[in-house]
């Protein structure tokens, strides 16, 4: 296995995630898998052309997978590349500290909401 294709793939995942609109699209697909372009567009209040462009980036990164159901093109979040990043980067360097910080932040934010 050559190093290059793996690196290219990882680059595409990080690039795809480095955009708030694309992350919002992933959140939407997590909440409701299998949405069509029209459903995504109306849910996010964005232009069709822009959504298509963002979806292409997400598909190229393997973060969004397309399935056809009859004539309907459905979009699904594929969490596997994110799991790979977790294994490659978070497990290796920062699992315990990262979890502690996430929990701390959640505790503090809960406190704010209640208070």
């Amino acid at each position: 296995m050559a190093e290059k294709p793996e690196q290219d793939r990882e680059d595409r995942v990080f690039t795809a995630l480095a955009d708030a609109t694309r992350r919002a699209m992933l959140d939407r697909l997590f909440d409701r898998p299998g949405q069509t372009l029209n459903e995504l567009v109306s849910g996010l209040g964005m232009r069709r052309q822009s959504a298509t462009r963002h979806l292409k980036v997400l598909e190229a990164a393997g973060l969004v997978v397309v399935r056809w159901r009859g004539r309907e093109k459905q979009h699904y979040l594929n969490p596997v590349p994110i799991a790979e990043i977790e294994r490659r980067w978070i497990d290796k360097f920062a699992r315990a500290p990262a979890r502690a910080l996430v929990e701390l932040r959640q505790t503090l934010e809960r406190g704010e909401e209640e208070g």
Binding site: R9, A24, R67, P79, A83, E84
Partner: protein
């Protein structure tokens, strides 16, 4: 973005895709033989003759059945499908079966390297399924372990997986 407009998923279908630098025959073997699954699939040993209508079981702790199902499609090395139940987990013991389907597509790079695009589709969940929440983080862990095993020969560290 309001949560209120988020209606429940039509089918709750979940899709997972992993690209593995191995040919389809090896990926198929890794999905259907106990020596392989024991190394990447949460330590379980798969048992089945993989004929349509046969039972498939995932054994843990010796001979105890963890997950089980019935083979629906078995077309080596392209497509494998079975029903899915988890009788060992009290949370989902009585839940109606869902369905798992593996699609194996052959890929070839410009330099002639062979790879397989493995797509796992888990669908057919009953209304109010709790299995759905179990398999969501489950499949990425299994697929990451499978990739590691086939590409490096290393058994993944299960202690770091949840």
């Amino acid at each position: 973005m309001s949560r209120a407009e988020t209606v429940p998923a039509e089918t709750g279908t979940q899709v997972f895709v992993q690209i593995i630098a191995a040919d389809r025959a090896r990926v198929w073997q890794a999905l259907t033989s106990a020596e392989f699954t024991a190394q990447y699939w949460h330590g379980t040993r798969v048992r089945s003759d993989f004929r349509v209508g046969s039972v498939v079981e995932f054994l843990v702790d010796g001979d105890e059945v963890g997950c089980r199902g019935e083979i629906l499609v078995s077309e080596a090395p392209e497509r494998l499908s079975y029903t899915w139940q988890f009788p060992r987990n009290p949370l989902v013991r009585d839940e109606a079966p869902s369905r798992v389907t593996f699609h194996l597509e052959a890929l070839q790079s410009a330099s002639g390297e062979t790879a397989t695009r493995l797509t796992v589709v888990h669908d057919g969940f009953p209304q109010g399924s709790r299995m759905q929440e179990l398999v969501r983080p489950g499949w990425p862990a299994v697929l990451a372990g499978l990739k590691t095993l086939l590409e490096t020969g290393k058994t993944p560290d299960f202690s770091s997986m949840t």
